[in-house]
Amino acid sequence: MTRPRTLYEKIWDAHVVEQRPDATCLIFIDRHLVHEVTSPQAFAGLRATGRTVRRPDLTLAVPDHNVPTTARLDAAGGRLPIADAESAAQLAALEKNAPEFGIRYIDAVAPEQGIVHVVGPEQGFSLPGTTIVCGDSHTACHGGIGALAFGIGTSEVEHVLATQTLLLQPSKTMEVRVEGEVGPGVSAKDIILHITGVIGAAGGTGHVIEYTGSAIRALSVEGRLTVSNMAIEGGARAGLIAPDETTFAYIKGRPYAPKGADWDAAVAYWKSLATDPGATYDKTVVIDAADIAPSVTWGTSPEDVVPITGIVPDPASFADPSKQAAAAKSLAYMGLEPGTRMQDVPVENIFIGSCTNSRIEDLRAAAAVIKGRHKADNVKWAIVVPGSGLVKAQAEAEGLDRIFTDAGLEWREPGCSACLAMNPDKVPAGERCASTSNRNFVGRQGPGARTHLVSPAMAAAAAVTGKLTDVRELMA
């Protein structure tokens, strides 16, 4: 009998092309997602060396990072120009590179366009048991369907384009087991924020995290994508959730997914990937789902998490002197005093979107809170940015767009938007944003912007009250 293996080990073993004398392996990449920001230099490198794309059929390009989220077509259906010259040039480069190198391309005005990590699973391009890379750290997202997926730099993008492989060292394995049932108002986002608070921003460095336990299995695929998306915020290059019937039901029938006899063979294979009984992880963290509250960040690292019922911590309360210094710096940047109740923190901006929280379930959760209510007067800017054109169309079919616009929120075109402030969607300096995105770094949502990471329902609650709010109080 073979040694019991984890999900990670099984996927890794199935992708080894060559093992080098040390532990380094040449790993085959099944899917390569490409966007406009981290690819131009890679294509330029191919051109300069006369190289071609080895497997254009396994490569899918879609612009998302700096496309504006305002209307892209005029009344006559013509494409509107992008005002920012540099963004326009990057988009033009991808539009030129994709056909020149023969890769699949979803253009900026296609109905399927959206954030690359929303589009991949939605199109059935991302599949369980595959290796997926993209020049974007939130590629970890696709681990939610059981793919070994991770972000790479531009040199690696060029390497994958040229060879369809990467030279990698095996990662260590970490299990984060969340057992039990979460309470009302607690979403997948709260689960991953809580986990990040527990393990820390470097807790998963060098590891691939497998999320297990009944609270994870109970999540929809959308929720699992949210959890795995933020594996990187805990330092892990990739997250994984074992594919199961929930996963298969989600994937079946999607455009690039296997069909007919291929589907049956695929499902049989995917079922064999679950971690074997007796397999061991290098590290295990166990979390009681009942301990997870609707959560919010107070600082400038995603590990700076407290329950919404909590207070801004005193830097002196941390044992580690470097964390004390970091916390003091964070609070100065965030303009917060220790001891302040999180629920007393006013917010002027609301962002509902990003590869973490822009799927249909996220929009439904936010709409359920905001329905029949209106944003508070002190909320100056509140935008809802669906993750893809298909999510947008679905939401409109369900009337969610009207719920948001009736409440005074703006309904936008799909893209990364205010998550990283590359396009015109930015939070003004010194102002706060309740954001469903994944990073509260200094300047992430714009120079001087102060980000509080929350779930979609919590962002909607903050929009209604104009301050960070326990969504459970609006649910009664």
Binding site: A93, S137, T165, P255, A265, S301, K323
Partner: protein, 196 residues
């Protein structure tokens, strides 16, 4: 890629923990189609302070950067490595790095040295006034005060840095193995090919 063996000079005693790549190079600097000129945007928010270390008389152009735990966390943007390189940094010394950043660094001829916090503390002290010496071949960081810290590095990364190797050319030597893998994959798991 420029080979790297010995680096000596001033080391910026930066020391912060969890420095993310948005801090190293904010997103608005990513709207470019080339790798050049990123140094102008490096550490932009910190350099807004006229008294910042990076632009001080002592440390402007210093080839070594000393940082805290989890350096380069967050976004995968290789622009962070390009920005450091453009500032003139060839070596970063920290207790740990994000996995993506350390890979990006090596691919751009920047050596990520891992040393324990105690060594970092000592080097921060020395760096304030005196140079630091890094020797990749012998895997040591030394000072003129008889400090000597040994570091570990993956042999493949070491070779790439010492010889300034292009990894794609190396992998192309495995072309036959990749072809064989693709053939076996088509036979064993034909459904892996995108259906449309």
């Amino acid at each position: 890629m420029t080979p790297l063996d010995k680096v000596e000079g001033r080391a910026i005693p930066f020391g912060l923990k969890n420095v993310d790549t948005d801090v190293i190079i904010p997103a608005h600097w990513l709207k470019t189609t080339t790798r050049e000129g990123m140094g102008r945007g490096a550490f932009e928010s910190l350099r807004a302070d006229p008294d910042n270390l990076f632009d001080s008389a002592d440390f402007k152009g210093a080839p070594i950067l000393i940082a805290g735990d989890n350096f380069g966390c967050g976004s995968s943007r290789e622009h962070a490595a390009w920005a450091l390189g453009d500032l003139g940094i060839r070596v970063v010394i920290a207790p740990s790095y994000s996995d993506i950043f350390s890979g990006n660094a090596v691919k751009n001829g920047i050596l990520p040295v891992v040393l324990p916090q105690s060594a970092i503390d000592r080097l921060m002290e020395v760096a304030a006034t005196d140079p630091v010496f890094v020797d990749l071949e012998h895997q040591t960081v030394t000072t003129q005060f008889q400090d000597r810290f040994s570091f570990e590095i993956d042999p493949f990364r070491k070779m790439c840095l010492l010889e300034g190797l292009d990894e794609i050319s190396l992998t192309e030597k495995s072309d036959a193995a990749i072809g064989a893998y693709e053939k076996a994959l088509d036979a064993d798991r034909p459904w892996m090919r995108p259906a449309a």
